[in-house]
C-alpha cells in the first residue's frame, strides 16, 4: 500500500504546472459549454422581458453544481437548485423550466449514447467492450440502435415541447444543443487521457473511455456528496483491471478528480458566493423585510433564519430543537420579567411563521395575541398551530392577527413582547408606548455584539425615556429590555427638541445616526465635518480600545476613542 502511494506521489510530483493549468482551462471550457447550452435553451423557451445572459446563466448553473458537489443528492439536487435559481432570475414558470430540464437531460443522454459506442468503436475496443459489457462485434449495431433511439426520442420531445400553449423550439436550436452535448461528452475522456499523459502514465485509449464513463456512472450513485469515493474506486478499479499499476492508477484518478471535481467545486463555490452577495432587493422572507441596508453576510444570515423558522413550523422535531436552543430560556425570562400570571393578556409582535414565543407564553396560561404583518408567515403559523392543537393545550389559546405594528393600538394588554426583527424599531416602540395603557410592561429583544449588524439595537434613551429599563442579557448576543409606560410619557415628536437624550458618539450602536450637539475644539475635527449640527453615523468601534469610526458627509473618519467620548450626540430615531 505504501509503495503504491509512493508511486502515485512520484507520478504526481513530476507534473508540470503548465500542463495542469492547461487541463484546468479545458475543464473551464467544458463548463462554459454547458453554460452556453443552457443559455441557448433558456433563450429558446423564454417568454418575456428579462434578457438571458451567458454570465448570469453560468453563475446559476454553477450554483446548482455546488449543491451537486456537496450533497449526496447527485444530479437531482443540483438540477432542482438550478430550476429554482433560473426561475427566480428569469421569471420563467416552473413547468416550463422543468420541461427545459427534461429536454436538456434527454439531449445529454442521447449524446452520451452517441459518444460512448463511437468512442468504443474508434478506440477499437475489445477491452471497452469487455468492461462495459458490450460485445465488440455489436459495436456497430449499438450505434445504429442508438441513432434510432435518438430519432424516436427527438420525435417524442417535439411532441411534448411544441404542444398547445408551449413555446415552439426550432429544430436548428435542438441540433446545436445536441452538437454541444456531444462535444461536452467527448471532452470527458479527453481530459482523463490528458491527465494520464501529463502524469506520465500510459493507458490505452479504450481503458480511458471505459474508466471515464464507468467512474462517471458510479459517481452518480447518490451515496456520498459528489460521488466522492465511488468515482475514485470506479476509475482506479477499471484502470487497474486494464493492467495499470495501482499507484499509477491512483495518480491518474486523483489528478482527473482534481480537474473534474475539485476545480469546478471551487468555481461553483465562488459562483454561489457571488449569488449570495447579489441581493435582488425582492423581499422573499416570511418575516418583515428590513428597511436598513446591510452587508450580504447579514442578509444571508437573516434569510437562513427565515428558512429555519419556516421549516420549524412544518417539522415537529426540528421545531422542538429550535425552540429549545434559541427560545426556551428567553421566553422563560420574558415571562418572569413581565411578571405574567395565568390569564395575563399578552401581545406578541412579529410572531413569524412559527410563533414559538406565543406558544411558550400560552402554555404558561397567558392569553396571547400573535401579530405579524406578513400574511404568508401567518398562514404558515396557523397551519402549525392547527397541527399542534391536539397535543398542545396552549396552541388553542393563541389569537393570530394580521396587522401592521405601526398602526395597531396596544390598548388593553398587560404586556407587549416585541421580537428582534420588528422594523422600524424605534417608531414601533414609540407607538406602543403611546397607545398602551399606563403600567403596561413592554418587553423588547435587543441584539448585542455581532448581532447588531443584522438587527437594530435600540436603547431606552433613544426612545426619549429617562428610565433605563430593566435589562437582562440572554445567551451571547441578545438581551431583553423591559420598559413600563411612564405616566408622563413624552411622544416621539418632542424628543428632538427636548434634548434629554444626550449620549456620546461612542455610545451609538453600529449604523445608528445622530446629530452632533457639541464637539471638542480640535481643528482637525472641524475640518472633517465633525461640527455641532452635523449628522453622522457610527460605523464601528475597534477592539482593544482602538479607534471609533464614524461616517459623516460621505467620509469615513477614524477617531481616538477618548476624542469620540467627548463628542456629544443626539441620536436620531429614524435611520436613513
Amino acid at each position: 500500500m505504501k509503495a503504491e502511494l509512493a508511486a502515485a506521489l512520484a507520478c504526481l510530483s513530476q507534473l508540470s504546472w503548465l500542463a495542469v493549468t492547461g487541463l484546468l482551462l479545458l475543464q473551464t471550457l467544458s463548463l462554459g459549454l454547458i453554460g452556453l447550452q443552457w443559455t441557448l435553451l433558456l433563450r429558446g423557451i423564454k417568454s418575456g422581458e428579462v434578457a438571458v445572459g451567458w454570465k448570469s446563466v453560468m453563475l446559476r448553473y454553477l450554483g446548482g453544481s455546488l449543491i451537486e458537489s456537496i450533497t449526496p443528492s447527485a444530479k437531482l439536487g443540483g438540477e432542482a437548485t438550478r430550476v429554482l435559481l433560473f426561475r427566480q432570475r428569469f421569471g420563467l414558470s416552473s413547468a416550463r423550466l422543468v420541461g427545459a430540464m427534461a429536454l436538456h437531460k434527454l439531449l445529454m443522454l442521447v449524446a452520451l449514447l452517441l459518444v460512448v459506442p463511437i468512442a468504443a468503436v474508434i478506440t477499437g475496443g475489445a477491452a471497452v467492450g469487455g468492461l462495459l459489457g458490450i460485445a465488440p462485434a455489436a459495436g456497430g449495431a449499438v450505434v445504429i440502435a442508438a441513432l434510432a433511439a435518438v430519432s424516436v426520442a427527438l420525435a417524442l420531445l417535439y411532441r411534448t415541447m411544441s404542444g398547445p400553449g408551449r413555446a415552439y423550439l426550432p429544430g436548428r436550436l435542438v441540433a446545436v444543443l445536441l452538437v454541444l452535448a456531444v462535444l461536452i461528452w467527448a471532452l470527458y475522456p479527453l481530459k482523463v487521457a490528458l491527465a494520464a499523459r501529463i502524469s506520465g502514465v500510459s493507458v490505452s485509449p479504450a481503458a480511458i473511455v471505459a474508466a471515464t464513463f464507468g467512474a462517471y456512472a458510479l459517481g452518480l450513485l447518490p451515496i456520498t456528496p459528489g460521488g466522492l469515493g465511488s468515482y475514485e474506486v470506479g476509475m482506479a478499479g477499471i484502470l487497474i483491471a486494464s493492467g495499470i499499476g495501482a499507484g499509477e492508477a491512483a495518480a491518474v484518478t486523483l489528478l482527473s478528480r482534481v480537474i473534474t471535481f475539485w476545480w469546478p467545486l471551487l468555481l461553483s463555490s465562488a459562483a454561489a458566493l457571488t449569488l449570495a452577495a447579489n441581493r435582488d432587493g425582492r423581499p422573499r422572507s416570511g418575516i418583515t423585510s428590513r428597511s436598513v441596508p446591510m452587508s450580504w453576510i447579514y442578509s444571508f444570515f437573516l434569510r437562513a433564519v427565515v428558512r429555519l423558522e419556516r421549516f420549524a413550523a412544518r417539522c415537529r422535531a426540528w421545531g422542538w430543537i429550535y425552540t429549545a436552543v434559541f427560545y426556551r430560556g428567553m421566553i422563560a425570562a420574558e415571562h418572569r420579567l413581565a411578571r405574567l400570571t395565568p390569564g395575563s393578556r399578552v401581545l406578541v409582535l412579529g410572531s413569524g411563521p412559527y410563533p414559538m414565543t406565543a406558544l411558550g407564553l400560552a402554555r404558561r396560561g397567558c392569553n396571547v395575541t400573535a401579530v405579524d404583518c406578513n400574511q404568508q408567515a401567518l398562514l404558515t403559523a396557523r397551519e402549525a398551530l392547527r397541527r399542534q392543537a391536539p397535543r398542545n393545550s396552549g396552541a388553542g389559546a393563541i389569537t393570530l392577527l394580521h396587522d401592521n405594528g405601526l398602526a395597531l393600538s396596544y390598548h388593553g394588554y398587560d404586556a407587549v413582547v416585541v421580537a428582534l426583527h420588528v422594523q422600524p424599531r424605534e417608531t414601533v416602540l414609540q407607538r406602543i408606548l403611546e397607545t398602551a395603557d399606563a403600567d403596561t410592561r413592554v418587553v423588547y429583544r435587543n441584539p448585542r455584539g455581532a448581532l447588531c449588524g443584522a438587527y437594530r439595537r435600540v436603547t431606552p434613551g433613544e426612545l426619549g425615556l429617562r428610565q433605563a429599563g430593566t435589562v437582562i442579557r440572554i445567551a451571547a448576543h441578545k438581551e431583553l429590555v423591559m420598559l413600563r409606560k411612564p405616566e408622563d410619557f413624552v411622544s416621539a415628536n418632542d424628543i428632538a427638541t427636548s434634548g434629554c437624550t444626550q449620549c456620546m458618539l461612542c455610545d451609538l450602536a453600529p449604523r445608528q445616526h445622530g446629530t452632533i450637539s457639541h464637539a471638542p475644539d480640535l481643528p482637525a475635527l472641524a475640518a472633517l465635518g465633525l461640527r455641532p449640527g452635523k449628522t453622522c453615523s457610527l460605523v464601528a468601534c475597534q477592539p482593544w480600545g482602538g479607534p471609533v469610526i464614524c461616517s459623516i458627509g460621505g467620509r469615513q473618519v477614524a477617531l481616538e476613542r477618548s476624542i469620540a467620548s467627548q463628542i456629544g450626540i443626539t441620536p436620531l430615531s429614524e435611520s436613513s
Partner: protein, 601 residues
C-alpha cells in the same frame, strides 16, 4: 519671463508657487502634472511628508513649484502642517490652493484661511468627476466670484481642466495681486484677524451657495446609476473596518501580500534571473575575462571570490531586485486601493499596547521595503516620541526588502523553519523594544483623527509608473552602492587585508558568535548596505545554527549608512549614534546568546 522673486529664496529668478490643500486631494498628482516629476502618490493622507520642489513651465513663466504637505487647516497640529504654515508665512509669487469638490465645505474653509494670508491665489477645484458621480455639482464661476480669486475645475488623475489651470496661473502671475475686492474678502478680513473658528459659518455659506442642482449629463447619470446599483460596495467598504469581518480580511490580505511578495520574488529569481545569470551570463563573463586577462590579482578582483563581475551582478540584480519589484508591487496595490489606512485602524488598539498608533503600522510596512521612507512617513502622524519609537523599531528589527530577499536566499534553502524562527524573533524583539521605549520615553500619545480614503481600484498605469520609479530608485540608490561595496570587498579580499581584519575580529566572530573567521566580512560590508550583512554568508559552509546566528546578527545589525544619516537629520546626531550602538549591541548580544546556548545543547 522672470518673476519678481518676492521670496528671495529662488535666486534663479523663477516664480515660486506653493501647492496647498487637504491631505489626499491630489496635490501631488497636480504637482507631477505641472512639473513632469515623479513625487510619490498614494491613496491615503500624508504621502508627501517632505516638501518636494520641481521646476515647471507655465505660460511664459519658469516656476518653482513646492508641493506642501497636506493640511486640513492652518493650525499646526503635527509637523507636516507646521511645515505648511511656515511656508505660507513668507511672501511667495503664487499659492495654488487645491479644493476638493467632494468635500467642499472644509476645502473652502482651508481656502479662506489661505486667502487670509494675503497672497496671490488660484483655486483648483479637483475631483469634480467623483463629485459628479455622487450627484454633487459645483458652480466654479460662482465660487470664483464669492472667493474673489480664479477657480479652475480639474480632474487631476486624467488631466482634465489643466489647460485652463495653466492659463489662470499665468494670468495671475502677470498681475500679482493679493485676493481682495471679493464679496467674501470683507468678512474674511475681520474674521481672520479675530478668530479662525469664525470662518466656519462663512465656509458653510459659500459651499451652500455654489452647490447647484446636479447637471444631468449623460455620463454623470450613468455613473450615478452604477454607483447606486453598486451600493453594496459602500457597505463592503464599511465592513472592512468592522472588527468582523475586517480583522479576518486583514489577516487574509497580509497573507496574500506576503505570498505575492515571496512567491513572485522567488519565482523571478529561481525561474528567470538565476538560470540566465548562472547559465549564460557568468560563463560568458568568466570566459571573456580569462581570455582577456591572465591569472592574477586583477582577474581575481573581477571574477574571484568577491568578483566584481560575478557577485556585483548576482547580488543586486538576481537576488535583491526581484524582491524589490514584488514588494513594491504588493505595497502599491495596498497603497492605491486605500486599504492601508483601514488596516491601520483595525490594528490601532493592538499597537497601542506597545505605545504605537495604528497609523504607524503603515510606517512599519513601508519599513519592510526600505527603512528611509518608513521613518520619513512618521512625519505626517504623531508626536516626536512616537516617531522615535517607530524609528527605533524600524532600525532595529524590521529588515528591508533587500535584506529579506537575502535572508530568504540564505535560510530558506536550508530550512523554512529557520525563516519562520527568524521572523518570529524579529517580532518578539519589536514587541519588547516597543514596550521598553514606551515606558522609557517621556511624552503622551498623540490624538488620532484621520480620514479613511475611499476604496479605489488601483490604476495600472499609475502603478506601473510607481514601480518603474522604485526600480530606478533602487538601481541608483541601492544597486550601485552594493556594486561599489562588492568592489571594495574584492580589493580587500584579494589584497589580504580582509584576512587581517578577520584575525582582528576573531574573538568576536569565532569566539563569541562561533562563526568562521571570514564571517567578519559581512560585518564590515553591512555598514554600507543592510543585505550585505547576509549575502557573503551564502557561499560559506555553515551549520544550521551558524546560519541562524549569522542571520540574527545581520537582521539586528547596523541599519545601512543612509538610514543612519536619515536618523541624524530627523532626530539629531545623538539619537543616530544611540541607534547605532543600540542596534549593534542588540545584534551581538542576541547572536552571541543564541550561538552560546546552541552550542550547549
Amino acid at each position: 519671463m522672470r518673476c519678481h522673486a518676492r521670496s528671495g529664496i529662488t535666486d534663479t529668478g523663477a516664480c515660486e508657487i506653493l501647492l496647498i490643500g487637504a491631505p489626499n486631494v491630489g496635490k501631488s498628482v497636480i504637482f507631477n502634472r505641472l512639473t513632469g516629476m515623479d513625487v510619490s502618490v498614494a491613496n491615503y493622507a500624508g504621502t508627501t511628508v517632505e516638501f518636494a520642489r520641481g521646476i515647471g513651465r507655465i505660460g511664459e513663466f519658469e516656476a518653482t513649484l513646492v508641493d506642501v504637505p497636506g493640511t486640513y487647516t492652518l493650525s499646526a497640529t503635527n509637523e507636516a502642517e507646521r511645515v505648511a504654515i511656515e511656508m505660507l508665512s513668507r511672501p511667495v509669487d503664487l499659492v495654488i490652493a487645491v479644493a476638493d469638490a467632494v468635500n467642499l465645505e472644509s476645502s473652502v474653509y482651508l481656502v479662506l484661511q489661505v486667502l487670509a494670508r494675503q497672497q496671490p491665489t488660484v483655486v483648483v477645484l479637483n475631483r469634480i468627476d467623483v463629485a459628479a458621480a455622487r450627484g454633487i455639482a459645483v458652480d466654479a464661476a460662482e465660487l470664483s466670484r464669492l472667493l474673489g480669486v480664479a477657480v479652475a475645475p480639474t480632474v487631476a488623475v486624467t488631466g482634465q481642466g489643466f489647460a485652463q489651470l495653466h492659463q489662470l496661473v499665468a494670468q495671475t502671475l502677470r498681475k500679482p495681486a493679493p485676493a481682495e475686492g471679493s464679496a467674501a474678502a470683507g468678512t474674511l478680513h475681520t474674521a481672520a484677524t479675530t478668530e479662525t473658528a469664525g470662518l466656519w459659518p462663512l465656509a458653510e455659506e459659500i459651499a451652500q451657495a455654489v452647490h447647484t442642482a446636479p447637471a444631468v449629463s449623460q455620463t454623470a447619470r450613468r455613473r450615478r446609476v452604477s454607483l447606486r446599483r453598486g451600493s453594496r460596495r459602500r457597505f463592503d467598504s464599511e465592513a472592512l473596518v468592522r472588527p468582523w469581518p475586517g480583522l479576518v480580511v486583514a489577516v487574509l490580505v497580509l497573507a496574500l501580500a506576503f505570498g505575492l511578495i515571496v512567491g513572485l520574488g522567488m519565482g523571478m529569481r529561481q525561474l528567470l534571473l538565476l538560470p540566465i545569470a548562472r547559465g549564460y551570463l557568468f560563463p560568458l563573463l568568466t570566459a571573456a575575462v580569462t581570455r582577456a586577462i591572465g591569472p592574477g590579482l586583477f582577474q581575481n578582483i573581477l571574477i574571484g571570490e568577491y568578483g566584481l563581475l560575478i557577485k556585483g551582478i548576482e547580488w543586486p540584480f538576481t537576488l535583491v531586485l526581484p524582491y524589490v519589484l514584488s514588494f513594491y508591487l504588493a505595497i502599491s496595490l495596498l497603497e492605491d486601493s486605500g486599504y492601508l489606512p483601514r488596516f491601520a485602524v483595525l490594528l490601532d488598539g493592538l499597537l497601542s499596547k506597545i505605545g504605537l498608533r495604528g497609523s504607524h503600522s503603515i510606517s512599519l510596512l513601508l519599513g519592510y521595503g526600505c527603512a528611509i521612507p518608513g521613518i520619513l512617513s512618521t512625519r505626517a502622524m504623531g508626536s516626536r516620541r512616537e516617531r522615535l519609537i517607530v524609528a527605533t523599531l524600524i532600525s532595529l528589527a524590521v529588515p528591508c526588502i533587500s535584506q529579506t530577499g537575502a535572508l530568504f536566499a540564505l535560510l530558506a534553502e536550508s530550512s523554512v523553519w529557520l525563516v519562520a524562527a527568524l521572523f518570529g524573533l524579529s517580532f518578539l524583539v519589536m514587541i519588547i523594544a516597543g514596550l521598553i521605549t514606551d515606558r522609557l520615553l517621556p511624552g503622551e500619545r498623540s490624538q488620532l483623527v484621520f480620514e479613511l480614503p475611499e476604496l479605489l481600484m488601483p490604476r495600472p498605469a499609475v502603478m506601473l509608473q510607481k514601480l518603474l520609479a522604485r526600480a530606478r530608485n533602487y538601481l541608483t540608490d541601492g544597486a550601485l552602492p552594493m556594486v561599489a561595496a562588492v568592489g571594495v570587498a574584492a580589493l580587500l579580499y584579494e589584497s589580504g587585508l580582509l584576512a587581517q581584519i578577520g584575525v582582528l575580529l576573531a574573538p568576536l566572530v569565532t569566539g563569541w558568535l562561533r562563526l568562521p573567521q571570514q564571517a567578519a566580512v559581512p560585518l564590515l560590508l553591512g555598514v554600507v548596505r543592510r543585505e550585505l550583512t547576509v549575502l557573503p554568508l551564502l557561499d560559506m559552509p555553515l551549520t544550521q545554527l551558524q546560519l541562524f546566528v549569522g542571520a540574527t546578527v545581520g537582521l539586528f545589525y547596523v541599519p545601512c549608512i543612509a538610514v543612519v544619516a536619515t536618523l541624524g537629520r530627523e532626530f539629531g546626531v545623538r539619537t543616530a549614534i544611540g541607534m547605532l550602538l543600540l542596534t549593534t549591541g542588540t545584534a551581538f548580544l542576541l547572536g552571541g546568546a543564541i550561538a552560546q546556548i546552541g552550542a550547549l545543547l
